[in-house]
């Protein structure tokens, strides 16, 4: 087993793979991240059958926390496999903060949290803003502290899908990109390394100031959402709300009562950026 360790925000992972190339890819993309020795979670990529290590290599994803019947991936998509494995550890295992399936960025010590389904554009928006004067905090999970309500960064590799790949190559041509993975179960995927300040400041949280629910592909519109609805939406967007019991309820309640929330619809990044700036200035 080849292995490497990575630290993303407050969480750390030991990643093992029978294929050296996957570990090499991770070490390249995560070169500037800390490498702790005592990690929180283990994720492994192993051949589904011994001979499938060499013949039509097929990778089974495993980890400390798993869902039953995870489908194996071809070795070319190994990096996506690791990403899925790592996400599962957080989604199922993490209790130190409330996890929201959301992206987040920071400016002037305050954070903007964007929650939405896959395809809403939350990930791409956070990546774009990260190159336009905001600090990128994370494209997948926002971690909300139980004690002070701060959002903590989780700046993993940004996972770009389909058209977002082209968008970001234009937005950040000099950024470091991972290998292009074509025709994965989620379409074409390519990773991009977050800006250097995102990694350098990955232990610095920020008080949430604005909650957004982006909707990509619709005519421009801004709509305020009331706390009751925000609460319901975020219970759905949280992977550990139920498991945290009363603590999770209190953390989410404070967030929802303290932070104004809007739904925005938009056709492209510039349009979204304008709306976000407008809302940010009104705070």
């Amino acid at each position: 087993m080849h292995e490497t360790n990575i630290q993303v925000g407050p969480a750390s992972f030991r990643i093992g793979s029978v294929w050296k190339e996957v570990i090499d890819q991770i070490e390249m993309l995560y070169a500037s991240y800390p490498k702790p020795k005592l990690t929180d979670y283990t994720v492994t990529l192993d051949a589904v059958r011994p001979w499938r290590r060499f013949i039509r290599p097929s990778a089974a994803i495993n980890g400390d926390f798993m869902l039953p019947d995870a489908a194996p991936l071809p070795l070319d998509h190994g990096l996506l496999g690791v990403e899925m494995g790592v996400n599962l550890q957080m989604a199922l295992g993490w209790r130190r903060q409330l996890i929201l399936h959301a992206s987040s960025v920071e400016k002037d010590g305050k954070s903007l949290i964007m929650s939405g389904e896959s395809g809403s554009g939350k990930s791409t928006l956070s990546a774009i803003l990260g190159h336009r004067g905001w600090r990128f905090m994370g494209d997948e999970f926002a971690l909300i502290n139980h004690d002070n309500g701060f959002a903590m960064p989780y700046p993993r590799m940004i996972s770009l899908k389909n058209e977002a790949i082209k968008t970001m190559k234009k937005e950040a041509p000099h950024a470091q990109f991972g290998p292009l993975m074509k025709d994965t179960p989620k379409g074409d995927i390519q990773h991009i390394v977050p800006p250097a300040d995102a990694i350098r400041k990955m232990e610095q949280g920020a008080k949430p100031a604005l909650l957004l629910f982006p909707n990509f592909g619709y005519d421009a519109e801004i709509r305020e959402i009331f706390p009751s609805e925000v609460f319901m939406r975020l219970t759905q967007a949280s992977t550990n709300f139920v498991g945290l019991g009363e603590t999770g309820f209190n953390t989410l309640k404070r967030l929802v009562l303290d932070v104004p929330a809007f739904e925005i619809a938009y056709q492209n990044g510039d349009e979204a950026e304008n709306m976000i700036n407008q809302l940010w200035e009104q705070l």
Partner: protein, 350 residues
């Protein structure tokens, strides 16, 4: 970089730290990671966390332990909630409803429940009461999981439990047993005696009396299944034996008699020896007769490597075959496997 194995031979690390938590305090980083990975793979992380909770462990481990304790607390709470839901659903049922395994340990508050992961709710009622219990549960919102006719008929004709039911709103499973081993298994435990001697607990449910609790745990561990997840069940056995043997002097004699009555002496005896060898469970000296067979069982129980993966593929396969062999006579096994094979089922636990 290639992985450096810890200094410890794999699963022994987990077993040793459960038995003597202070040993963990001397581990290096790689061994800590291996320990935690294996504990999670064997669903023993909550138990380990409970054993280590007030000890001076490295900071990263403190966080991992606290996460695990929060999770156990949640599992404990939701297990008791399911117990209560079942109690309300079955209020009009006259006979005793006996809680089994994790839910019983939680409801009775015994040592085995500390940090234990609890999945499904298992209950036992008399075979005559099955129909009524089934219809009461369905009225209260539980639904069939298995749509398949063969599987359904198989459960009803040969198994010791109804096909599993899942609650449509809470998504939690209940297994309704009428005895503790498949009807086709060789040992024929006296289910009626188990129910008759069960002990009522506060909320209207029953739990098995101590000897039967041990017999069921041993049957579950040794006589019904391929020992996957066996270390957790063996930890249950360790806690039960340690708890009960302390209370009354003649416990071991009564346990042996009861086990013989249920035709489970071999399973109980074997489990007690394994618990003694791995977890240091105190057992009577004249129960300690280690054999070649014990060595194989121990090897099967310790088949986890420091990455949480299963080793000893052939040995595990042998135990998988054994589990079916124990469950049904040869001709029936052939028919069963043929039907399953035709339907494209795979033995995917291998």
């Amino acid at each position: 970089m290639m992985s450096k194995a810890g200094f410890y031979p794999d699963t022994w690390l987990l077993v040793d730290c459960l038995r003597e938590p202070d040993r963990a305090l001397r581990l290096n980083d790689a061994d800590w990671v291996a320990l935690i990975t294996m504990a999670r793979a064997e669903t023993l992380m909550g138990t380990l966390a409970y054993r280590l909770k007030d000890k001076k462990v490295p900071k990263p481990v403190e966080h991992i332990i606290s996460d695990a304790l929060i999770d156990s607390e949640y599992q404990y709470r939701s297990a008791l909630w399911e117990v209560d839901c079942a109690r309300r659903a079955l209020q009009s049922y006259d006979g005793p409803v006996v809680l089994m395994k994790g839910s019983a340990y939680a409801a009775a508050g015994i040592e085995a429940s500390h940090g234990r992961s609890i999945g499904d709710l298992d209950i036992m009622v008399s075979e005559g009461g099955l129909k009524e219990v089934e219809s009461l549960l369905i009225k209260a919102g539980w639904e069939w999981v298995k749509e398949d006719d063969y599987d359904d008929a198989y459960y009803r004709d040969y198994m010791h439990e109804l096909p599993p039911l899942i609650h449509k709103e809470r998504d939690r499973m209940i297994d309704v047993h009428h005895t503790i081993l498949p009807k086709t298994a060789k040992p024929n435990p006296n289910a009626l005696a188990m129910i008759a001697d069960a002990i009522p607990i506060e909320d209207g449910h029953y739990i098995f009396m101590p000897e039967d609790m041990v017999c069921h745990c041993a049957a579950h561990l040794m006589a019904d299944g391929d020992l996957a997840g066996g270390l957790r069940n063996l930890w249950d056995m360790h806690c039960l034996l340690s708890d009960f043997s302390g209370a009354a002097g003649d416990f071991w004699m009564r346990l042996k008699q009861r086990a013989q009555q249920h035709e489970l002496w071999d399973a109980v005896h074997l489990s007690a020896r394994q618990a003694n060898a791995l977890y240091g469970t105190p057992i009577p000296t004249d129960w300690m007769q280690w054999s070649m067979r014990d060595t194989l069982f121990q090897k099967r129980l310790l088949a986890r490597n420091s990455w949480g993966q299963q080793r000893h593929k052939l040995l595990r396969f042998a135990f998988y075959i054994r589990s079916h062999w124990l469950r049904m006579p040869p001709l029936m096994l052939t028919k069963h496997l043929l039907t399953k094979w035709r339907k494209g089922h795979k033995a995917h636990e291998l």
